[in-house]
């Protein structure tokens, strides 16, 4: 079964925004049209700034349109962990910022009549294992200290799990259709004068003393302030030494009973499963989603990636009356050293360039937090959240371990790039399979399609030159170092890489590489099924 996002499939009319043509001058340029970029653009346009969003593909077509549509105050790395690595004050600020963001989404969905199925409902976090009980208790306590109405409960309504050892509930959380919401907010932004450009890839960015300059595939953009809202900053950035990329998986199913629980659940035992429900076209719930099974991008422990989907499906069948599997997809999240995202000026010396990253899989709310905070900072207002999210905070003692672990992992990936000689050949590659092989001392990423046609690119990631690995569930090349991902034709899907993998050709008579001139571009559209 092909991977396809439920949100993409259930968005009826998708407005088309123009491609940038020629040069442009604005107060604020925003790279990336996900929930972060569009929220920031909305806030800035409302504050009277001239603002332009530059999106490499389609608005909402990044992680935002491949998420699971849940809005909640708690966070994946746990607030009590943040209270430990940073402080209770930071944990409370994080909770309050997320609470505000959730209200923001509700208010704007109503104000602009965005048909995004926004509905309030409870969040439950439960375990069937005694070992996990204290984690749940600590999380409930930290939420309460942050002023949130979390309470320990003995029942988890809507599910039929035996022997729940501990559970916490927080009412007033929500679900929505993230793609429809972002498209609705984008429309409102353009109505206030904001400009949005699609199919416009930013290839280079520079902060000068009195302006920032962006080079795109079509023209240049000059601006006073710049927001890099690309989920992880593009190009080379120090935050990539801690913001490790992880992929996780989602399976969406219909149930025989037609009865769907109306809540969002975290089931954490030795493994973590998120259980949620959504609606296709009305407010009526008709889809169950199970998400989980994360692993570092490009470093799957199961070479057969389908395993990750199969395991989620098996979990669902064990606990629900599954009628059919409708959608399967996966997406990426980025972590942070201390569990708190990085939102603010990009580094200590920067005056005009802002980033927002390290959201874990909690970034629909965090992206909204970031949009609000960055717009406040650019408007010269003092953001009450900056102390918690400051992107220049660096590594402290509590997070040094994480820093060392991530960078040792990246170093280990580089050490796998050994000259292999002619270990395998094109003929070893079956139809539908991808492999990295070495020809004329060059590592190649080779995919053989169902018609036996070879698609050949350099296997050297254009970000910082790790060797990409084959992902056989999504038929993509995934870089194990910082999470850049590429289509079989080499075009960038996501991650920090800006340029596509260099396309290569082989002389069929000699089997040697044909000199392709070493050129590569940033154009994203080529055969790219991801909008």
């Amino acid at each position: 079964m092909e991977t396809r996002s439920f949100w993409e499939a259930t968005t009826p009319q998708r407005p088309v925004y123009p491609t940038l043509e020629g040069d442009l001058q604005v107060d604020v340029a925003i790279i990336g049209g996900g929930i972060t970029g569009i929220t920031a653009a909305h806030q800035l346009a409302r504050a009277g700034k001239s603002v332009a969003v530059l999106e490499a593909r389609r608005v909402g077509g990044g992680t935002t349109g491949w998420s699971t549509g849940n809005l909640y105050v708690p966070v994946g790395p746990y607030l009590h962990h943040i209270a430990k690595t940073r402080s209770q004050e930071v944990a409370s600020t994080v909770a309050q910022a997320r609470f505000t963001a959730l209200n923001f989404i509700e208010q704007h969905a109503q104000q602009y009549s965005i048909d995004c199925h926004f509905a309030r409902r409870p969040w439950y976090f439960f375990t069937q294992e005694e070992d996990m009980a204290s984690t749940i208790e600590k999380e409930a306590e930290t939420l309460q200290q942050a002023g949130m109405a979390a309470e320990l409960v003995t029942q988890v309504p809507g599910l039929s799990f035996d022997s729940v050892k501990r559970a916490v509930r927080m009412n007033g959380q929500a679900r929505f259709h993230p793609l429809r919401y972002v498209l609705g907010l984008a429309k409102a932004t353009t109505q206030m004068g904001g400009q949005i450009y699609e199919h416009t890839t930013v290839l280079d960015l520079k902060e000068e003393d009195d302006h920032c300059l962006l080079t795109t595939t079509q023209g240049t953009v000059t601006c006073n302030q710049l927001i890099i809202a690309t989920h992880i900053p593009i190009g080379i950035h120090t935050v990539q030494t801690v913001a490790a990329p992880y992929r996780s998986y989602v399976v969406a199913m219909r149930l025989k009973s037609g009865t769907y629980p109306d809540a969002y659940y975290w089931h954490n035992d030795k493994t973590h499963h998120a259980i949620t429900t959504h609606s296709t076209n009305s407010m009526e719930l008709d889809m169950l989603m199970i998400a989980g099974n994360h692993h570092k991008t490009g470093q799957a422990s199961h070479q057969e990636y389908q395993h990750y989907f199969n395991e989620l499906e098996a979990y669902a069948r064990q606990h629900f009356d599954v009628a059919s599997v409708e959608f399967r997809w996966s997406a990426q999240h980025y972590r942070s050293g201390d569990g708190v995202p990085y939102i603010g000026l990009t580094h200590k010396g920067a005056k005009r360039t802002y980033i927002a990253t390290g959201f874990y899989a909690d970034g629909l709310t965090y992206g909204t937090v970031a949009g609000i905070q960055l717009a406040e900072m650019i408007a010269g207002e003092k953001s009450p959240w900056l102390g918690a999210f400051d992107a220049t905070r660096g590594t402290n003692l509590a997070t040094a371990g994480q820093f060392i672990k991530e960078n040792a992992n990246v170093a280990a990936q580089y050490l796998k790039d050994i000259p292999a000689g002619q270990a395998s050949h094109f003929s070893d590659i079956e139809p539908g399979e991808g492999k990295t092989i070495e020809v004329d001392s060059e590592k190649l990423a080779v995919y053989r399609d169902e018609h036996s046609q070879l698609h050949i690119c350099s296997a050297v990631c254009t970000h910082m030159k790790c060797i990409v690995n084959w992902n056989n569930a999504e038929k993509t090349w995934d870089c194990p170092c910082h999470g850049s991902r590429f289509m079989i034709d080499g075009s960038v899907i996501e991650g920090p890489a800006i340029l596509n993998l260099e396309r290569k050709a082989i002389d069929p008579r000699t089997g040697h590489l044909v000199d392709s001139g070493g050129k590569t571009s940033g154009e994203r559209e080529i055969n790219n099924p991801i909008t």
């Binding site: 580089y414 050490l415 050994i418 001392s441 254009t462 030159k465 060797i467």
Partner: protein, 114 residues
């Protein structure tokens, strides 16, 4: 003197890997990063041993140290260019190698000369 011999051992291994890397740079090919990240640390260990030896006082191969330090700076610069996608100037790669060979020869002369 044991420190010097061990240092020579590490430099010799680093030199072998370095020559291999040079064949990639001169052909305009991507360098295999496992070799890059083995070559550098080996040379660094050799250099640290040499510095410890010199710090102990007495007659020492300081000219060799100077050449190795210059070679190391060139090496760091090349790695930073390589990882950030900028081509490695061939003349720089050759110069780095010549500096290191010079340092190595002086070290051999010091260790085994008399």
């Amino acid at each position: 003197m044991n420190l010097i011999y061990t240092s020579i051992g590490f430099f010799a291994l680093a030199a072998l890997l370095g020559m291999y890397l040079l064949t990639f740079v001169l052909r305009g090919k991507e360098t295999p990063k496992a070799i890059v990240f083995s070559h550098g640390p080996m040379a660094v260990v050799g250099l640290v041993l040499l510095i410890i030896y010199i710090a102990k006082g007495g007659p020492n191969p300081w000219e060799s140290l100077v050449l190795f330090v210059l070679a190391a700076l060139g090496g760091l610069y090349m790695v930073s260019r390589d990882l950030t996608g900028r081509p490695i100037p061939k003349v720089l790669a050759v110069g780095h190698g010549l500096l290191a060979v010079g340092g190595f020869v002086l070290l051999l002369v010091f260790a085994f000369g008399n």
